[in-house]
Symmetry: C2
């Protein structure tokens, strides 16, 4: 388990270290947004989404609550509060033999939380 | 891993066997809806929700696509199409030492899929 990229991902989130993030993403990584169906393909757009999410989620209330890791997949559950709204989410992360992330999928519940995130991410992605 | 309740859960989904479902739920099980924040506590309401979801998801396009199991937690990803809308979801399931399910949390993406499910579940729960 020491060779998976999850420990480094936690470091990215804690330090907002987007250079480290870039180093653990495969060139062909695909990002799946909680809002939009269409897969976002490639390192550049994935970096943009993940760094935006990391900035929007950069609040004291954010924490990872559960972790399920098996083979080359991890399911990381998190919680936070944004503008008084509870958000419960999950990152589903897949990596390859080089320990580079190939898929990053984000799920958000409940509906009110997803709507709040949609609004804030829309704003974050404008800048 | 043979002693976890996930194999039986798959049997519940395939056979719509709600007696089997009842036998793998702990009395104090809590259901977390993808739509509403408030936890739904107890076997009766959890059975109602899960059997409604199983009926709404009872379409040919439904399939579990990935499974991450570690310790007493499982993360099961699924896909389906409802009325032409793609739904990608995830069941996060926790169980106790008696192999009874104590938490069942459902996440849905994208936003359009969650809205479609909200509408259909609202209808399913009326009957």
């Amino acid at each position: 388990m020491s060779s998976n990229p999850i420990k480094k991902w936690h470091q990215v989130v804690q330090e907002k270290n987007f250079e480290l993030l870039e180093s653990i993403l495969d060139d062909s990584v695909v990002f799946y947004s909680p809002v939009v169906f269409t897969p976002q393909k490639g390192k550049k757009i994935t970096l943009m989404y993940l760094s935006s999410v990391a900035m929007v989620f950069n609040v004291d209330s954010f924490s990872y609550t559960h972790e399920v890791i098996d083979g080359n997949m991890a399911s990381l559950e998190f919680e936070l509060e944004l503008e008084g709204i509870h958000i419960n989410g999950l990152d589903l992360i897949t990596w390859n033999k080089d320990q580079k992330i190939t898929e990053f999928k984000v799920f958000i519940r409940p509906l009110q939380g997803l709507n709040a995130l949609h609004k804030l991410m829309g704003m974050a992605l404008k800048y």
